[in-house]
């Protein structure tokens, strides 16, 4: 496993999370109405709030996943450096 690939996978997740958070399914429905001040209008606003929270949480967790991959890559890289140091030190 190459840490660079892990790091890249993490970066892709973080970028995708940013893209998805801008996607805005909540805003697409927030102002929908059939009648002025009708029941659908208030239901749409409430749904928009629920979607905003749900999509936001998913995006946050996707970003956290990406950051965790990045963290894992850093750990592996640090371990490799450490091992390289040990091996290099043992070479005549």
């Amino acid at each position: 496993m190459r840490p660079a690939e892990l790091q890249a996978a993490g970066a892709v997740c973080v970028a995708a999370a940013e893209e998805a958070s801008a996607a805005g399914p909540a805003e697409a429905v927030r102002e929908v109405a059939v009648l002025p001040a009708g029941r659908a209008a208030s239901a749409a606003a409430a749904l928009a709030d629920r979607w905003e929270a749900a999509v936001g949480r998913w995006c946050d967790d996707l970003a956290v996943h990406g950051e965790a991959l990045d963290l894992a890559a850093a750990t592996y890289r640090a371990g490799d450096d450490d091992a390289a140091g040990v091996l290099g030190g043992g070479t005549p």
Binding site: A16, A23, V32, G38, A46, W58, A68, L69, A72
Partner: protein
Amino acid sequence: MTPAVAAVRLLAARASLARAGEVLAGEVPGWRGAAARDAQEARAALRRRHEDLLADLDGVLAALGAATLALAGGTPPPAVDAALALALDAAGRDVDAAPPTTPTGALDPGGVARWWAGLDPGARAALERDRPALVGGLDGLPATVRDRANRRLLAVEQGRALEEERAVRERLARVRDPLGLVTTAWRLREVRARLARLGAVAAAVDRPGRALLDLEVDPHPEDGEGVRAAVAQGDVDTAAHVGVFTPGFTTGVDELPRRLEELDALAASAGPGTATVAWYGYDAPQVDEVAEPDRSVLGRGPAEEGGRRLASFLDGLDAARPEGRPDAHVTAVGHSYGSVVTAAALAPGGATGVDDVIHLGSPGVGAAPGRPPGHAWVVEAAGDPVADTGWFGPDPNRMPGVTGLSAREVALPDGRVLAASRGHVGYLTPGSTSATNVGAVVGGRPQDTVLDRGVGAGDRLRRVFGR
């Protein structure tokens, strides 16, 4: 907006959300072992939640389509309205209910502490050297490690900002067109503001006993001021008592040096073995954001976001403690909007290691003060209009289970006189009754406090007008 227009927009949003989920397909090539398995499980959980979200969107798309057809076909609008309302009411529930997961659990402060403990010294040193921003920002790592990493990061960021300031200044000298002049001058103002903020952080940590526990720099912030930081006075990993102060509306790291002076006095007043932290780790709402729904001081947006960050920081205090050392007695102190942030951090599901909470000049903290009776405190000074607003819920000085601490002038038996606090900003003024009371709670000596619910003219007026 008609159902037809909403359907078109929702279709575009769905496509974008679907694309984002594609990054979860497959595995990271060549990665094996326990961490890889954990990562796969996390990705599978995220995929399931993503599929649930898309399915929910599809249901609403179908309902919008049906409403459009019904209206076009002459169905009476009230009937379409009722049918669409039913469909919209049913959507968006029970989606995204799964708890967040990460491959190694490493971003939970306890997991971070275990991960760090499992690394050999060489790996830790390499991480500290190569990834100071990562190491400095991880709640759950020892304070000395974070301090070293964040000081390195601070030096890097100051150098970067200085270089940027020089480049923008030179560009400004060359620009001739009016638009370029305006944008470049604005850029120079931004860079200089960042430099000043980083300078304030540097001044705050340039004293014996100070530790830079967190530093986050965003050169082009969408929200807030772009520099977040947490500075401790004393060693939070060994102190018996730790007080964590969270500021409110219009605050930023530029006030850290002055705040740390107040917290120094507070720690001295609390007694030996006390460390204090000025936690400026969230984007406090600013004056120019009042009209922005997500960022306004009148809403809970900044408090919810800040509360999540603060909860992680607070949980990191106990997680970072050396094995065998007992947890600290932790007091969370929130001032003004910072009390809303603090309450959000202590809400169910939030920080668990906090023993006491003190709300200073609070505009309300929601339905619960954050800690049980005997451990939830409030201070309301005379002439503090913010503390009488009850904007975010009942006035804390009238909530059951919350004990009021005095902010009035008090003559002590030994002849000393503690000063009264007046208005919204003097709660931690050294030598005041308010600051002395806060020190007593932070120092684990609640029996030494002077109690007073702080009911004043504002409270009486509010009672008359029924709020």
